[in-house]
Amino acid sequence: MEPLLQGCAVLDCTGRLGWLAGRLLADLGADVTKLEAPDADTLSSDWRALNVNKRLVHADLYAPAGRGLLHDFAASTDILIATPQPGTLEAGLFDYTRLAAINPRLIEVAITPFGLAGPKAAWLASDLEIMAAGGAMSLAGEPGGVPLRVSAPQSYAWAGSQAAVGALTALAARWTTGRGQLVDVSAQAAVIIALAHAPTFVDMLGVIPTRAGAFMTGRSVAGAKYRVFWPCRDGFINFILYGGAAGRRTNEQLVAWMREAGIELGPLGGIDWARFDPTRASQAEVDAMEIPIGRFLGSLTKRQFLEGAHRREMLGYPVSNTADIATDPQLESRGFWQDLPAPGGSSERHCGAFVMVDGVRPPLKSAPGDALQERNP
């Protein structure tokens, strides 16, 4: 099968903010060369996971030889991805006008925390500050408590994935214009995509969404809050008492499951789920319903809930950790993982390509850190 981006040459000069962009293009079949400084740490899990499927070249871009190499690459590259923080020496290295003079068909994708221009363009921001600037932290955490980020960086991934779309949009345009162009990606703006439609509440109603903690609020006209995360035997389960057709099926199946398990149903036994309306329940009613549910879910393991809920076509999932995900049969069955050689003769297991094309998952072609053997200029 011909890879989607076969023959597309990508030079990836990014720092941490941009690693995923090149990885996504590589998964789609592009030939991605990762350029790293001579002293770069290429052993961390993040580096290896996000720079797999690329070929590695070490170069010091601040030395004449490295600069020459960059220009050589630019002459024969379709897409150059960089993270040129405005106001730094790096920004000068990746000046698009100069590189486009070498190769007018070159597409340069510049991924920065805030974009290449504007009052905060030169501001310093890591994942924490980008998540804060994009509004995501204001929506995560206990109500009134410390605003939180996800403990593994997400803003870099949001930026990297928008960058991949931007790169390929410019590639599509090149068929018409015959020329490359500069793609300006803002990580702050990329995070805003993660907020779903939260901005529309401000825009249309003047209501500011805030963090909801571990409970669902705002669903009941009586002001009741519904538990979302339930302790279970080996962690937590995400389960919500929904209304509507999907909620009805889920709630009926939950009660049937509890009955089979011999759990005392309490008030759940008397509820007609076809008529249950979560928007009408009082907090006292919700609390009474949640006692037996909590008792039941607390008796299950995460995997038992996952399998049982699937069998019964219920909504809800366990709160997985990386060990749960690593052993999920669904992923195994779809060939999601791919083993590649690792330093010391061992092997390491990577997330495979994110899409199956014509029924096949495109294989990862090279292990992280594999050197570029030869180039056809």
Binding site: L5, R179, V185, A189, P199, F354, D358, G359
Partner: protein
């Protein structure tokens, strides 16, 4: 040189999709010039129209929902009854016209409707079809129904949000759906590239779950190689200290971090505590981690009486990573986002002016735009069926009378 040329001009896209995961793909393509037709039915409109607030003046209505319009700007909207044989024929005609078909139904449903990839490619061999769903089209749990808000728990994000000893935390909305839609758009555009080279179409099977895992690829590799399970750690990061959010004046918060000894010295100077930079207990990252309460107290005391945005500006001037924790309301007044024209107001016939969100990237030579508000249900039936598909007035009227557009 290329003024007026749209990056994706001429590209024809049909969406048999609803809610977030399908339509957000089409929105991004539409913002760069693709002609995108969103298919619904009068009896079963897109669930985002009626099931999710906010609504104009707080009153639900099929054309009053801002959640729907927000993800469907710049598109055409048609109605087709997919339970009607004439409706299926019309849908097939639309698919034959298109370059790209996007669907996010449960696996197997689009095939049973006679609109699956094999059926479509028989008459449109170059068609690119994207199927996106919770688990992907295959595997033991392929048929699992589900919402993105809960899938974000299965994919690990919720479990990595919160304090180590507390419960996991919700992420707002169907977080993971937008990962899958963004990656799905990349896959569609890559398939378009192959088609332009070779004429070949493609079938793209996107699992929202798997896409989400790419956002945790590092921690997953860490588990596979070292057996280490990633844990939620409030706002800590192993590479920086301090690294967290601090209360400011009013309801404000500031997020800040120091990634080197030099940056910590600059922070101490900026907050008027230069003596801390000389304190041997705080001389290295490891030392600052082990004495984190000392640093925390100093930064907290400095931040508490200050306005968050001014405090961030001051720290940035000193060369320290910092930003106010923006509320969703503040995103509309953020000077940087205003400068990027992230929000673009367009007028909707029922809702009136609404702010639409431009993608996070723009192109220097062929920039995108929000070309129209989200559409009213079935607003473009005549335009799409007559102008795009070439139906005569008689054919159009006959199909409508037969209920194909219900």
């Amino acid at each position: 040189m290329s003024a007026g040329i749209q990056a994706l001009g001429g590209l024809k896209v049909v969406e048999f999709g609803s809610y977030a995961a399908g339509p957000h793909v089409g929105k991004m393509l539409a913002n760069f010039g693709a002609t995108v037709v969103h298919v619904e039915s009068l009896s079963r409109p897109d669930g985002f129209r009626m099931q999710y607030p906010p609504y104009k003046d707080g009153k639900p209505g099929v054309n009053a929902g801002g959640c729907f319009t927000y993800f469907n700007d710049s598109k055409y909207d048609v109605t087709i009854d997919l339970k009607n044989a004439e409706g299926i024929r019309l849908a097939k005609q639309l698919a034959d016209w298109s370059d790209i078909v996007i669907e996010n139904m449960r696996p197997g449903v689009i095939d049973r409707l006679g609109l699956g990839y094999e059926a479509l490619r028989a008459s449109n061999p170059g068609v690119i079809m994207l199927s996106t769903c919770n688990m992907g089209q295959t595997g033991p749990r392929a048929d699992t129904p589900g919402f993105g808000s809960q899938l974000s728990a299965l994919a690990g994000m919720c479990g990595l949000t919160g304090t180590k000893d507390g419960p996991p935390m919700l992420l707002y909305g169907p977080y993971i759906d937008f990962i899958a839609s963004t990656l799905g758009a990349a896959a569609v555009l890559a398939a378009l590239e192959r088609r332009r080279r070779s004429g070949k179409g493609a079938y793209l099977d996107v699992s929202q779950y798997e896409c989400g895992l790419l956002f945790l690829a590092g921690p997953l590799l860490e588990y596979h190689t070292a057996g280490k399970i990633a844990e939620r750690a409030e706002n800590d990061d192993s590479g920086a200290a301090p690294h967290g959010a601090y209360t400011c004046k009013g309801d404000g918060w500031i997020a800040l971090s120091c990634w080197s000894d030099g940056e910590f010295i600059r922070l101490c100077d900026a907050i008027g505590r230069p003596e801390l930079a000389q304190d041997p207990r705080l001389a290295t990252l490891a030392a600052r981690k082990s004495c984190c309460s000392l640093v925390h107290e100093a930064v907290s005391g400095w931040a508490r009486p200050r306005e968050a945005q001014a405090a961030a500006q001051l720290l940035q001037s000193a060369g320290v990573h910092a930003h106010a924790v923006s509320t969703v309301a503040e995103l509309f007044t953020d000077s940087q986002l205003v400068s990027r024209r992230l929000w673009r107001r367009r007028r909707h016939p029922v809702i009136g002016d609404q702010a639409y969100c431009f993608p996070a990237f723009d192109l220097s030579e062929t920039p995108g735009d929000i070309t129209a508000s989200g559409p009213v249900l079935g607003a473009d039936n005549e335009r799409v069926y007559k102008d795009f598909l070439g139906l005569t007035d008689e054919q159009f009227d006959a199909l409508r009378a037969a209920g194909a557009m219900d």
